[in-house]
Symmetry: C2
Subunit: 232 residues, 2 copies
């Protein structure tokens, strides 16, 4: 079951949520657009076949092509035991993932509130207004929610890690990169989230991945961008 | 299996995607916050129990509470045959739903690019810039994608309707309400999408629902808002 991930090279982006699940599962995969074929190899497959994707990331494995981050994770969750097998547990994991995705979308919109086709520099004032709401109201609200769900447990669903824990870890990493002051403030109020972040980072396969060249550093092309003027 | 939908009264919003699935399935449900208990009844349940929701809509049935529109639809799709039963078909339906949700999010952001805590009137100029990109580039791109997926088929997956068709119908209705000029222009290029929209509207249970008082009219509190200055 050769596994190919198709995502933009050069950024973590939404592909990173998929990479973390593949890495935690120990599944070998090709990160296609980072190989010799580059973005051309990605574009050649994007709209192809009976289940085309609107945008990367998408995964090709076992004769299937699956797009949309949350759908890919649901698939990997079933394949690798990164989600419960019963229907209620599967749905709850997915609900958490979709709520994390909402937070990630809002984080992205802080630097591009007026539109993706414009440069950040052309919407800096609007970005400042949007980021102010994000750091002062939205981060605290989302953290409060996830902290409540996590409670005293090791992971969001209990003793077993799921893809939602990996995604929440990635989101905390990203927010800490983009908004270090606001994130530190919010994490100080929810030490169980800070502990979850450490717990995931210390898992042997995740730790090895984070140290490897496969982990692309955060940068100002991705979802989480460090513009100090937005971190208040 | 009594079924309770919890969503804001007074708007279609994201709850409408759930309502359409329930209506097409012929499942009886209580629209809780539109009943005597109002929003208080919703808020009392929102953060309750082992699977709390970050925000409405959420569904309570069979002892489960499920939040996040796409997760609710996945559940209803399995229960009512509004999605294929095999794993690949279920994932593909879900992938389409998540792509529709991306379009819906972008539609929402046209009128609140700078933030939800501000009035539309305080971000009208930014809304104009964002809506211009949305109507000129994003609507055409999404329509092209869904038209390609639909092809000559009756529904997105073939002869059988799925929840993704219902959601695409609702999105086309909403875009036509909010951006009648831009939507008519884009639909004229993709007559198969216009045909899908009619096909869904004419299904007996959907037609009856749309005529009933259960269907809340579009208005300027929901996701799709008619601000003529944004429709270019």
């Amino acid at each position: 079951m050769a596994c190919e991930l198709f995502y933009w090279p050069g950024i973590q982006g939404r592909g990173e949520f998929v990479r973390l699940a593949l890495e935690e599962a120990g599944e070998e995969y090709a990160d296609v657009a980072r190989g010799a074929g580059g973005v051309d190899a990605l574009m050649a497959v994007l709209k192809e076949g009976p289940t085309p994707s609107f945008a990367p990331p998408f995964l090709r494995t076992d004769g299937m092509t699956i797009g949309q981050t949350a759908a890919i994770l649901m698939f990997l969750g079933e394949r690798h035991g990164l989600a419960p097998q019963d229907s209620a547990g599967r749905l709850w994991t997915h609900q958490l993932q979709l709520t994390i995705a909402d937070l990630v979308n809002e984080a992205h919109d802080t630097h591009h509130p007026v539109g993706n086709s414009l440069y950040y520099e052309d919407q800096q004032e609007e970005a400042r207004r949007r980021a102010s709401e994000f750091t002062s109201a939205r981060i605290p609200k989302f953290f409060h929610y996830f902290s409540h769900v996590l409670g005293e447990k090791d992971y969001l669903l209990g003793l077993q890690i799921t893809y939602a824990d990996l995604s929440l870890f990635q989101t905390l990493e990203g927010l800490d990169y983009a908004f270090p002051k606001a994130t530190a403030r919010a994490l100080a109020r929810h030490p169980n989230l800070a502990a979850l972040r450490r717990r995931v980072a210390e898992r042997p396969r995740i730790a090895a991945y984070l140290r490897s060249p496969r982990r692309i550093p955060f940068n100002e092309e991705g979802i989480f961008r460090r513009y100090p003027e937005l971190d208040c």
